[in-house]
Amino acid sequence: MITTMLYSLTGLILFGMGFYTLIIHSHPLRKILAVNVMATGVFLILVATAYIPVGQGDIDPVPHAMVLTGIVVSVSVTALALIFACKVQENSNLDLLRKRNHRKSMKERGL
């Protein structure tokens, strides 16, 4: 029982840490990693949940199925978020570049 509690608490702490990072930091890669840490926390609690009927020596298979599904979802979502982050980064850099070029050309023309 204590082991289960320990795992669950660790999961909750991971979830909280991920959430904190997601809110505080602005770097896109950190945000995506934070989401992954949050997801891992939830999965850890789920895996710990499977151990509950300790006395009979059997393990509940449903949480495992849920974790597997969750991992698949998490992987695909991470891929999507990474693509998004790249696109946003490219575009904002492009914006900056354009602005800089614009300024430079203005300066060259003596404006």
Partner: protein, 505 residues
């Protein structure tokens, strides 16, 4: 066909758009045909399911023959089928409108290639989103609901980013992250619920939820996650930029359908599973947030300079009504609570899609959507402006629109239960809606002085008629309310009988 396994028909609203979406990915040509076929097929299957329910009662389909608690099941009951019907009807209109929209954009030779690419990605994503929505309305398993929520997020965020502008990319990236937080919080709630109850099926959970700390935590987590996705006021910040920067057909989808899905789920949790442990103060808390949403959204809508942003903030405001129904729902008998919410949702879905389509048309016609310079649109686009007016009437909640029925029920309940402040909120919200709708309307009717040389782009009927028809549906929804009420009342079992036995006074 009507043998014992007729429940199999429930699977089709999920399978049809899924297959169509995959086919749209495979083929380069004819994607519109595939999507249209799926949308029409979806509409007919949903109508058939409603007919089936009226004859045989609510149904359950055990997928693969596995019964709960182990298997996943789909079920059809009144509210679920009405939400499906809402999705199917607006979905059909959106499919037609999107076709008109992309044809118009592609006909412009300057950016034809880019718009062709957008259209190529639009159809499969839209079909997958439809799959997720239908799956969510039909699912009877809280983990399956998590998967459908993620499916919706995965297809909605790229749709919002489709226009490719930096602003929309940034908005949809934030939208994706927010939906991820929402679904992970939801998942944590599911874990808590599973830990304390040991089942995932909605119907089985109903009998298990007791007043324990773990279950209260689960309720809070589920509620916060879904509120984030529904964009209830303190958590609404992501909605206006994401909805207003998307392409016109995408704004329609996001605003009319996607936010309703998470709300529907929230309402189901509060009034079915957790009904025994919900206290009056928590209901009042939700109602207060709803009231804040009504006023804040309306005030922001009045201040906007762009038509699309105005319509997006109006969504924030209208979503508030759905939450004001929370504290009043416990004073009416079970079915009526659902019917209030379903009426608001149906009317808002039709009226708001009409409004976003109108905003898209105005943008195509003028090349901008600044509210101050909408002069002369009335004379060049009478049908579009008419659709805007009708949709505005429905949003304000004037009779005979569906929103009128809902607001009438809310008002009479608040008077009957001596809670006059909710009546003030509801009436005040309608007045504010009137102000922001008319502010645009009056600009439509201004006749420009002198110059009438504005290039007169005529819009195809595919662009003009879907919004008008949707607006008319939302207006006349009030007249067919007895049938809608009849459908809502078909429930799995006497679920609402349990509400008053539990913690509620």
């Amino acid at each position: 066909m009507f043998s014992s396994d007729t429940a199999v028909w429930i699977v089709f609203p999920v399978i049809l758009p899924l297959v169509a979406g995959l086919l749209c990915f495979l083929f380069k040509r004819g994607t519109f045909g595939i999507a249209l076929a799926a949308a029409i097929g979806n509409f007919f299957v949903v109508s058939f399911l409603i007919y089936q329910m009226l004859v045989y009662g609510p149904m359950r389909c055990y997928i693969g023959g596995w019964h709960p608690p182990l298997g996943i099941s789909l079920r059809s009951d009144g509210p679920a089928l009405l939400m499906l019907l809402m999705t199917a009807a607006t979905g059909l209109a959106i499919t037609l409108y999107a076709r008109g929209y992309f044809l118009f954009r592609i006909s412009d030779p300057l950016r034809a290639q880019r718009h062709k690419r957008q259209q190529h990605y639009f159809w499969p994503l839209w079909m997958l989103l439809l799959t997720g929505l239908n799956g969510l309305f039909l699912s009877a398993d809280i983990f399956n609901l998590y998967v459908t929520l993620e499916l919706i997020a995965i297809s909605a965020a790229p749709l919002a980013a489709l226009s490719g502008k930096p602003a929309s990319l940034r908005a949809s990236y934030r939208y994706l992250l927010i939906s991820l937080i929402g679904s992970l919080t939801y998942l944590l709630g599911v874990v808590f619920l599973y830990r304390s109850c040991g089942v995932l099926d909605l119907a089985l959970l109903q009998n298990l939820a007791g007043n324990r700390l773990a279950i209260t935590t689960a309720l809070v987590l589920l509620t916060v996650g879904l509120m984030l996705k529904t964009a209830l006021v303190p958590l609404h910040f992501w909605l206006p930029p994401a909805h207003a920067n998307a392409l016109a057909p995408v704004s329609v989808i996001l605003s009319a359908l996607v936010v309703k899905a998470s709300f529907y789920l929230l309402f189901r949790f509060w009034f079915e599973i957790f009904a025994p442990i919900i206290s009056l103060s928590s209901l009042n808390f939700m109602g207060t947030l709803g009231a804040l949403a009504i006023f804040w959204g309306a005030i922001q809508a009045m201040r906007q300079q762009r038509l699309k942003l105005m319509v997006a903030y109006s969504t924030v405001s209208q979503l508030g009504y759905l939450f004001v129904a929370f504290p009043l729902s416990m004073f009416v008998d079970g079915g009526q609570a659902w019917s209030i919410v379903v009426f608001i949702a149906l009317t808002h879905a039709c009226a708001k899609s009409a409004m976003f389509m109108v905003a898209g048309n105005v943008y195509l016609h003028l090349g901008h959507d600044r509210i101050k310079s909408l002069k002369g649109v009335r004379s060049s686009q009478p049908i579009t402006v008419f659709a805007y007016g009708i949709a505005g009437v429905s949003l304000m909640g004037l009779p005979p629109s569906g929103a009128f029925i809902a607001k009438w029920m809310l008002l009479s309940t608040s008077f009957a239960s001596l809670q006059y402040w909710w009546a003030v909120v509801i009436a005040g919200g309608s007045l504010l809606a009137m102000i922001y709708v008319f502010r645009v309307m009056s600009n439509f009717f201004v006749i420009p002085e002198g110059e009438s040389s504005k290039k007169n782009v005529s819009l195809s009927p595919l662009l003009e008629w879907p919004p008008l028809i949707l607006a008319l549906i939302s207006l006349f929804l009030g007249l067919i309310s007895p049938w809608v009420l009849k459908i809502v009342l078909y429930k799995d079992s006497g679920l609402f009988a349990q509400i008053f036995q539990g913690g509620l006074p």
